[in-house]
Structure formats: structure tokens, C-alpha cells
């Protein structure tokens, strides 16, 4: 899968100064997989698979360490079990993609990582979630959510100005309101990291809802980044966006990987292949396979994974 840029000439008006059209061709017949190079025997100390991570991406080598993990995590809505006994490890410096068919519990699993699933009254949870070797139930849920940020399927900027949106998380967490001057560098930094600064630097006081969908989603990324999370949860962040915005967001995600552990739920296998370092495949609430992206896509161990990434799943 790759994006091809083709320039087409506008034939109807020869000689006229028509800007070339950028045509994006998305090839999605089959999923081209980059299999990582085998780099040696498994390392007993780390217990990791020797598959090369971050295959094909030109980035500096980064330190990978565990940030978050779940132990036998199960979630049920009423009597319906959405996630059953899942053990998941989230590492910093990596993008972890949760893939699987609709209704397999990916989003529920994601939303449970910052206990947002508890906003649904019927949801019940068992099992443990551990952040930096600390059970998340032992500290305040607001503290957890400020350490584990989240981005939603639909961009959801607040009905405020762009600046107020990014500053929101910083302003509304303490008892003292910081002044705008103190917030400014953090807001600017967050917007820069989300790749939005160049587009909005001149109109920080404009309504956020006037931005385009892709810009709104990047604004939401900036809003999450402003509070310096350790983990960023992305729930199909590109499903409501056009291919160009999707491309920009993906770039942003890959860059952010250096600083934050990223978990992304996606229906789009190409997207997972493009940006993920590690992939977890879920099916009917079970975690079927978990491993480096190259291995899951290139040499899946489970038949169900094989079928799904091969496009055979319903």
C-alpha cells in the first residue's frame, strides 16, 4: 500500500496556467507487508521477539520500555462480555495497533485503559491495569486520565477558541488558573508537535469548530499533548477524515512515537501496516495475537490472524 502522486495535465485548456492536480491513488487490493529483518535469537533479558521494529521508517533509534500493561482484563456490558481476560503490554517509543473486525472489543479495551469505559453505566471490569508498575485503581481517575490521553473517532474540539482548547487541560486541573502568558509556550509547543502550528499561528483566538476536520483532529492531538501524557490512546482517529488529512495525522503519530507510547485502534489494515510497530489482533473479545507488526502481518502464528490480515475475515 502506498500513496502515489500523479500529475495530470488539464487537457481542455492548453496554455492556461492550471495548477497540476494531485491525485492520490490508494491501492488496497491486497495488503503489501514489509516483513522486518530477522535480527537474531530472542533476547531472554527483554523477552522480546527479535523482529525489527519501526521497519522502513527513517527515524532515530529509540528506547523501548514498558509503560502500561493489563492483566486478565475483562469488561462486560450488562451480560455481554466485550473483552475477556486480555493481557496487553504498551511500550513507550512504539505505536501499538489494535486490529480486528467490528465489535471485537478493540474500542472497549482502549477506553478501559484510561477508565473512560466507566462513563458507560452498565460497564463492569475485572482484572488489573498497571501504569508504570502501579495499579491504576490505586490513584485518582483524573490523574490517570491526564497521564493517559485519548483521541476520539470524531474530532471533538470544545466550542472555544483554538488557544483555549489546547490550554483547557492545563487550566482545569489545578485550583489556580495559570495566566495566558504562562500557558503560551506550552500551547505553542503542543501545536507544533501536532503539526498544526503553521496553519493556526495567526488566528489562535478563532473558534476551533471553524477548522476543517483534519485540523480539528490535530487540534485534539495538541490538546492531549499539552498535558504531557505518557500514553496516547487513539480510537480510529482517521475514520472521519479524508486521505490527505489522514496522511498528515499518520505522519504526526509516527513522529510522536518518540515521546509518547501510542495505542491506536484501526479498521484500516494498511494504516496499521504503515504506522504500527506492534500489532494486537483481537477477535470476539479475545486477544488472538500480539507481536511486532512485521511478524503479525508477515508471519502470523494464528490461523484467524492469517485469515484476517489476508482479507478473508467477514
Amino acid at each position: 500500500m502506498e500513496l502515489k502522486e500523479e500529475q495530470t495535465q488539464n487537457g481542455s485548456a492548453p496554455g492556461a496556467e492550471v495548477p497540476p492536480l494531485r491525485q492520490i491513488v490508494v491501492e488496497s487490493e491486497t495488503v503489501p507487508i514489509r516483513v522486518g529483518d530477522y535480527a537474531g535469537p530472542p533476547d531472554p533479558e527483554y523477552g522480546r521477539e527479535p523482529w525489527q521494529l519501526n521497519a522502513g521508517l527513517d527515524s532515530d533509534p529509540i528506547w523501548v520500555e514498558e509503560r502500561m500493561r493489563t492483566e486478565a482484563l475483562s469488561i462486560a456490558y450488562g451480560g455481554k462480555v466485550a473483552v475477556s481476560a486480555v493481557d496487553l503490554e504498551v511500550n513507550s517509543g512504539e505505536v501499538l495497533a489494535l486490529i480486528g473486525p467490528s465489535g471485537c472489543g478493540k474500542t472497549t479495551l482502549l477506553r478501559s485503559l484510561n477508565r473512560l469505559v466507566e462513563l458507560t453505566p452498565a460497564a463492569r471490569r475485572t482484572g488489573r491495569i498497571i501504569l508504570d508498575n502501579q495499579d491504576v485503581d490505586t490513584f485518582d481517575v483524573t490523574r490517570l486520565r491526564s497521564r493517559v490521553g485519548m483521541l476520539f473517532q470524531q474530532p471533538n474540539p470544545f466550542p472555544m477558541s483554538i488557544f483555549d482548547n489546547v490550554a483547557y487541560g492545563l487550566r482545569e486541573r489545578g485550583s489556580k488558573k495559570p495566566r495566558r502568558k504562562q500557558l503560551e509556550p506550552i500551547v505553542v509547543d503542543a501545536l507544533e508537535r501536532a503539526g498544526l502550528w503553521d496553519e493556526v499561528s495567526s488566528n489562535l483566538n478563532h473558534p476551533a469548530l471553524a477548522l476543517s476536520g483534519g485540523q480539528q483532529q490535530r487540534l485534539c492531538i495538541a490538546r492531549s499533548l499539552a498535558v504531557s501524557p505518557e500514553v496516547l490512546l487513539l480510537d480510529e482517529p482517521c475514520s472521519a477524515l479524508d486521505p490527505i488529512s489522514t496522511g498528515i495525522i499518520e505522519e504526526t503519530i509516527v513522529e510522536l512515537r518518540n515521546e509518547v507510547a501510542i495505542v491506536i485502534v484501526t479498521h484500516n489494515l494498511q494504516q496499521a501496516a504503515r504506522i504500527a510497530d506492534r500489532v494486537a489482533f483481537m477477535y470476539l473479545g479475545d486477544m488472538v495475537e500480539y507481536g511486532p507488526a512485521g511478524q503479525v502481518f508477515g508471519a502470523p502464528r494464528e490461523a484467524r490472524t492469517q485469515e484476517y490480515v489476508g482479507g478473508g475475515f467477514g
Binding site: 529483518d37 535480527a39 537474531g40 533476547d43 527483554y46 522480546r48 527479535p50 525489527q52 521494529l53 519501526n54 527513517d58 532515530d60 533509534p61 529509540i62 528506547w63 523501548v64 513507550s92 517509543g93 508504570d132 485518582d140 483524573t142 490523574r143 491526564s146 497521564r147 492545563l170 486541573r173 489545578g174 485550583s175 489556580k176 495559570p178 495566566r179 504562562q182 500557558l183 506550552i186 509547543d189 499539552a226 498535558v227 504531557s228 501524557p229 505518557e230 518518540n258 515521546e259 509518547v260 507510547a261
Partner: protein, 334 residues
């Protein structure tokens, strides 16, 4: 290029000045670390919300319970079937059949005028609305009517209906002075109270009809007028009914217009001639309650409580009807 991450040394952070991920953001002047959780102000606010909510519940229970208790205590069935009598003794001052009927008549006149006018205005605003400036003006006009105190509407009505050419609506004295007070005059001012509610609910209902329904009708070759009559208005029926019911509630509960425009007698007193009842004066439950309270002339609190209870039951029924209409008849477009 192949990098084994397990052995690669940690790369430099892109921006060394940026706080490490997970480290609390440090803001100058806020005591360093950002707090999370519940600040003192938050706790006070939460406590205040609980306090207000609980006192609301207590007040609601107290009001409804008190009125129900007094109603059961003082309401006798014969009160509903006997007319008020001029008597200082509460046991012989009769019932409130006349006010009950008066409330009914006034409500019917009020919504009878408000529904056609309100629906017409709502249709014009949503379906035509040209010129836009006029539509804007009409919209703010409706808002002004909604905000005008009923006592102002009442004495404005008196002013209008005391003009000599308005004599047909009420009673003309021998000198040619027009009395200006009757069920008709009070009812038409009551229509103004209900009008904004009917317009609002109808507009909302019309707005909620998706465009494809209109387009389907046009595609069948119908013009706008018949689309409105045959498609839009039937679909907006429940909205119109909701507005009318809300309007009835307001009309039942209004006192100022009754006191000013319906005369002071407790008994219904029809005029002679055609439509005498409507041109005559009378009373409603609200004016009955007012007049039998210590501030009125009657001072018969038991009667006042009983009538207030009946009034409350009417309002309760209307409220229930609004809920039912909203639930039952809403057309499902999707």
C-alpha cells in the same frame, strides 16, 4: 537499514527543554506541580449542586404533597356541580362549577384562535420566510409577545375592546360606552399567550421534517401549497398538539387577564342576544382562587384550596398529555 532496537542506545530527545512524558507540567507561579483530582473549589461547587438538587426535591415534594393533602381534605364532589353563591359562610357559598366551565370556555377560545394563527405564522416562517428581513422581524415580534407580561396584554385588550366598533364582542351600555369585558375579549388576549408556544412547537416540528420528504412531494408534481397541506402539516401534527397543550396550560393558569377582562362576578352572566354566553362575563378557576384567598373579597380558604387542587389536576393532566403526545405521535423519519 536495519536497527535492532534492543541494543540501540536511547536517542536524543527532539526538544530537551520539553518535560519528559508523564512528568507533571510545571507552570511558574502555580506552586510547581499541576494538581489533578478535586480542588477545594470543585468540592464546594459539587456540594452546592447536591444541596440545591436535594432542596429542589424537598420543595417539590412539599408543594405537590401539600396541595394534594389540602385538595383531598377540602374537595367535595358537589363543589364541581354547583355554582358559587354570595355568602360569607364557607359552607353555603356554593361550589365552582361556573369557574370550571369558564376556564374551559376561555381555554377553547384561546387555543381556537392560537392554533390556526400560530400554525399559519410558523408555516410562513419555515417554508417561505421571504423577504428575510420581514421574517426576522416577525420572529422577534413573536419573542416580544412571549415576553410581554399578561397584565399588559390584559389592559391593552381592554383598550382595544372598549373602542366603540368593538361593541359586538362585549356589552354596550346605554350611553354607547363599551364594557370591553367578556369571554370573547379575554379569550382573544389569552390566544396571544398561547401563540408563541404554538408557533415555537410547530416550527420545531416542521424543522425536524427532513428535506427529502418535501422533495419527494415536489417530485410527484405537487406544488408547495399542497405539499404543506398534505404532507408537512400532517407530519407536524404532534408538534402542533404539543404547542397547543402547553398553550392551554398557560391559559388555564393566567389570572391577570381574567381579573381585568372577564369582569368581577363569580357567576357566569351571559348577555342577551346571539352568542350571549361568549359576550358575557364570568370567572375562571384562577380568579376563583384569587377571590377566595385572604387577598380577595371572599376569604374562603377551603374553597380556594379545593379549586386550586382542581386547577393543579388540570395542569397535571395537560402536562401528562404533552409527554404522551411527544412520545406517541412523533413521526419516525429514519
Amino acid at each position: 537499514m536495519s536497527i535492532d532496537v534492543r541494543t540501540a542506545a536511547p536517542g536524543p530527545r527532539p526538544n530537551p527543554e520539553r518535560p519528559a512524558p508523564g512528568a507533571p507540567v510545571k507552570l511558574p507561579g502555580t506552586g510547581g506541580q499541576q494538581q489533578t483530582g478535586w480542588s477545594i473549589g470543585d468540592r464546594i461547587g459539587l456540594a452546592a449542586a447536591w444541596f440545591c438538587g436535594i432542596s429542589l426535591c424537598v420543595a417539590a415534594v412539599a408543594i405537590v404533597g401539600f396541595m394534594a393533602w389540602k385538595g383531598v381534605q377540602y374537595l367535595h364532589l358537589e363543589m364541581l356541580t354547583s355554582s358559587p353563591e354570595a355568602s360569607l359562610d364557607q359552607s353555603t357559598s356554593g361550589g365552582f362549577l361556573d369557574p370550571l366551565v369558564g376556564t374551559l370556555i376561555l381555554t377553547l377560545i384561546g387555543v381556537g384562535i392560537a392554533i390556526p394563527v400560530g400554525v399559519g405564522i410558523a408555516v410562513w416562517l419555515t417554508e417561505y420566510g421571504r423577504p428575510a428581513g420581514l421574517a426576522r422581524l416577525v420572529e422577534s415580534g413573536v419573542e416580544i409577545v412571549a415576553g410581554t407580561p399578561s397584565i399588559v396584554l390584559a389592559i391593552f385588550g381592554l383598550l382595544v375592546f372598549q373602542q366603540s366598533f368593538m361593541g359586538v364582542f362585549s356589552f354596550t351600555a346605554e350611553g354607547g360606552a363599551v364594557f370591553g369585558r367578556s369571554f370573547l375579549t379575554a379569550g382573544s388576549m389569552m390566544a396571544l399567550i398561547a401563540l408563541p408556544l404554538v408557533i415555537g412547537a410547530t416550527r420545531e416540528a416542521l424543522h425536524s421534517i427532513p428535506r427529502h420528504v418535501r422533495e419527494a412531494s415536489y417530485a410527484l408534481g405537487k406544488d408547495k401549497a399542497s405539499t404543506i397541506r398534505r404532507v408537512l402539516l400532517p407530519s407536524a401534527r404532534s408538534g402542533i398538539a404539543t404547542g397547543a397543550t402547553l398553550g392551554m396550560g398557560r391559559i388555564c393558569g393566567d389570572t391577570a387577564i381574567v381579573v381585568v377582562l372577564l369582569g368581577a362576578s363569580m357567576q357566569t352572566t351571559p348577555e342577551e342576544g346571539f352568542g350571549g354566553l361568549l359576550r358575557g362575563t364570568g370567572s375562571t378557576l384562577t380568579s376563583y382562587v384569587y377571590n377566595n384567598s385572604p387577598s380577595g373579597e371572599g376569604n374562603a380558604p377551603e374553597k380556594a384550596y379545593a379549586a386550586a387542587f382542581v386547577l393543579l389536576m388540570i395542569v397535571l393532566l395537560l402536562n401528562f398529555a404533552v409527554g404522551l403526545i411527544g412520545k406517541r405521535n412523533k413521526p419516525q423519519w429514519n
